[in-house]
Point group: C3
Chain length 344, copies 3
């Protein structure tokens, strides 16, 4: 019981959603995204109600999606507007399910639960991704064969960096000197993880020239669904945080199934704004650290859990944060299970 339908998730990046339909499974639901000729995106269930053919195999005609098999056409509201197989060719009350979507931060956010309570105001507020004069941004995507809750564990337990990522973002000995604190509010769980007076991790070596040792401030913040936000600042040792460099990083997890995750990420920085090569380098280091170091561990843990009745044990401070999130997720998943049944 780990899938929370009544939450906003990232379903796609905005640039993926064009007039060629995009199929993606989200929380076990097959969804098709498309963008009509008026530029508006849409999300429908990816099953034609006639003969169960996936609608994404069809094509976009104006603002409608046409099924490849018999030419039925559905509009953005899911209403069948063209049915060549009835006498006058007009619709017949035939509909497909649609999902509320919102385009924000260059992403398509989707609500898969009860549409009556879909409130776009609760999409997490990440101003750094909408302030191009102060922040340069980038994004990426990958697919992971693991429960998204194992990824939440990974993101909130920042102490793993020193063991798993010593060659990029980890600081040897960090977990011995870090000052760590967990904060919970009804809507959020946040871990603060500050590391004073350390050499900069390898990832900063090329760009950072201000000092030989640094103070590193970081917090990871969960705001429901799979939205995790790392607020990371590095300063010359002892300098005020406002004089440091900021590199915020949103980790946006969307369960594909109980055992697999769509992983979208956004990052921003408030320094060297015009250095495109640096944007590329940050994306690449992050991707490499995840793909080569986190992914094998997370996918192997997933397989361990599937094949055995392995229980997780909480040891690190980060574990207490992710365990709190897991409890909330599981509680919400349970609360929405009736909705889930109705939707599927």
């Amino acid at each position: 019981m780990s899938l929370v339908l009544n939450a906003w998730y990232v379903g796609a990046t905005a640039v993926e959603v064009v007039a060629i339909p995009l199929a993606r499974t989200l929380l076990n639901i097959p969804v098709v995204f498309f963008r009509g000729d008026d530029g508006e995106p849409a999300a429908l269930i990816d099953i034609c109600p006639h003969r169960a053919v996936p609608l994404h195999m069809g094509s976009v005609v104006g603002d409608r999606l046409r099924c490849i098999y018999h030419g039925l056409e559905f509009d953005r509201k899911g209403v069948c507007r063209v049915n060549p197989h009835i006498a006058d060719g007009r619709p017949d009350g035939l509909r497909v399910q649609t999902f509320p979507i919102v385009q924000r931060y260059g992403l398509i956010w989707i609500w898969l639960g009860d549409p009556d309570i879909a409130d776009s105001a609760i999409i997490p507020d990440y101003p750094v991704f909408e302030a191009p004069e102060r922040f340069t941004t980038g994004m990426g995507y990958t697919w992971v064969a693991a429960d998204y809750r194992l990824m939440v564990d990974n993101l909130f337990d920042l102490s793993h960096a020193e063991y798993l990522h010593p060659g990029s973002v980890g600081v040897p000995g960090a977990s011995k000197v870090s000052v760590t604190r967990v904060e919970r509010t009804p809507d959020r769980v946040t871990i603060y993880y500050n590391i004073p007076d350390v050499p900069p991790p390898v990832v900063w070596h090329a760009a950072w020239t201000k000092s030989e040792r640094i103070d590193q401030y970081s917090s990871m913040d969960w705001r429901g669904g799979g939205s995790c936000y790392l607020d990371l600042t590095v300063t010359a040792i002892g300098s005020p945080r406002s004089e440091g460099w900021s590199l915020p990083f949103a980790h946006l997890l969307t369960p594909e199934t109980e055992n697999s995750t769509h992983y979208f990420w956004l990052f921003a920085r408030d320094f060297n704004l015009d250095d495109d090569a640096l944007t590329h380098a940050i994306a690449e280091v992050g991707e490499r650290a995840f793909n080569d170091e986190d992914r094998p561990v997370l996918e192997a843990a997933q397989r361990s859990m599937e094949r055995s009745s392995a229980k997780l044990r909480n040891i690190t401070v980060g574990d207490s944060a992710s365990a709190a999130i897991r409890r909330r997720i599981d509680k919400q998943a349970f609360d929405t299970v009736e909705t889930a049944k109705a939707v599927q």
Copy 2:
């Protein structure tokens, strides 16, 4: 509940059944076909009763099939005739299950249900495939990862051609002008689908030179099991049907499992009888239309239905025919389930 055991199905083409044993799963039953040195084909269950080794791994010795593992030999009736492991080497009451078979139209028809009611007289009568002086014939085979009932839907809903096959057999606008009628008798379901006064579909462009526009007559006929027969005639517009060209096409579906199908087809024509290149071209166009256009849609619909509780809705006239067939299949499958249990 979709597999009807008490029916004749095509198990193999006649040329496939030689002295090298052929293994094929039919209605979830592993079957081995072989042909003894007397030229007679046989069909046995493909499991040695000794140590469960598939008999198709063995070899044909005279009119018997010898198990590769310990040399037991079974004749066409399934009786063990040689057992080297008992004192005098004679049989010991050991038997394997056999299945009634009939070779007709260059195909091996098999009855997988109660052998006491296997009546070869009910194998569908397709005279065009046995009249070489009037009809030139061809055949083909493929395997499809879909429920054979989805293929019945496809075959009976001839209106899909215009959407899915506009570049080969479909006629744009055909479903608007077609004259369609469904006929049901206790043994058969037939749909008549006649299209008056249209340009010939692309597939006829090379061969047809009689007229710029045509009348197309077609009917698809189901006669139990998976036997569907398309009677297709094209005439110059307004000419009597007897002066047209006929291209009958038998679509013979044999469930491998609930979710996969052996698809055999026979075709014939009453024109250009000696044109071997034309025979080859017809086979190729049919195969390409199926493999490139029908197959992806049918296999995707199959996956949709497996992963969701998608219900089918009947919209076209063809749907009413295939729905009638589906009801009969499901009823017969239910009625024979006790037999099924006994056989397997």
Copy 3:
């Protein structure tokens, strides 16, 4: 119900177990083997108790295995000796399950059941593999997609050699002239299979020059778990057995799952002791006979049994031996099922 936990199995060859951790699933249990810097091997469950990451992904540090994810270190007894995430870095009562192991005959034997009754004295006694002055030895390993009980059938039914292996170890007509006897004691089941006055099987052609015809003595002996031992001697026809050549062959089967088997083998010979090419040739012929002839048959029988309710029937004398073993295995598996539940 086929997996007997309370028995000794071969988990690995000794040379496989080094400072790079080795992961292997045994009786459905994920096990990690490693060898510390003191040369002692160890076997732990391959799941870190913290976040379920397989321990084999980590590294050996001294005599401990360190988890890759957060640096927890476990010693050979499974005790966590280093945990950087608690205040003073000392262990915290955290443990992982370990398994009794014994290194013997160049193999690592493992006990996966109740450790309190693990008695290394019941590891089968195979003196030929510890007498280098009299016997030259070799070993090998492969993985088989079949229930290990089908492999026991294969090993005890020596009559199959003439049908399945006529080009290597089989003697045509052997099952007609063989003198066969089965012996059962509480701990063992043995089949004696002696073939008098036959030409040597092909495998002996190159080495054997003593006589044109031979007497072949063989017995296959089961001693619990998956330990089968073939005592094979060939003599010039009519000569005393003590003057023949011996080629004992231990077949050591370790279930990976109910449907797959780790197959280790040891062989020895008391002739041409210094001929390394001969050792290599024996290994190769054995491997080829198994991989090309036994394996396809056993894996196909496994698939037959998985997909149908095929029952096995006992026909040969060997079958009566393997059936006796199967009854004992199934009985022991049933008796230890409570242990199994506790362990997993």
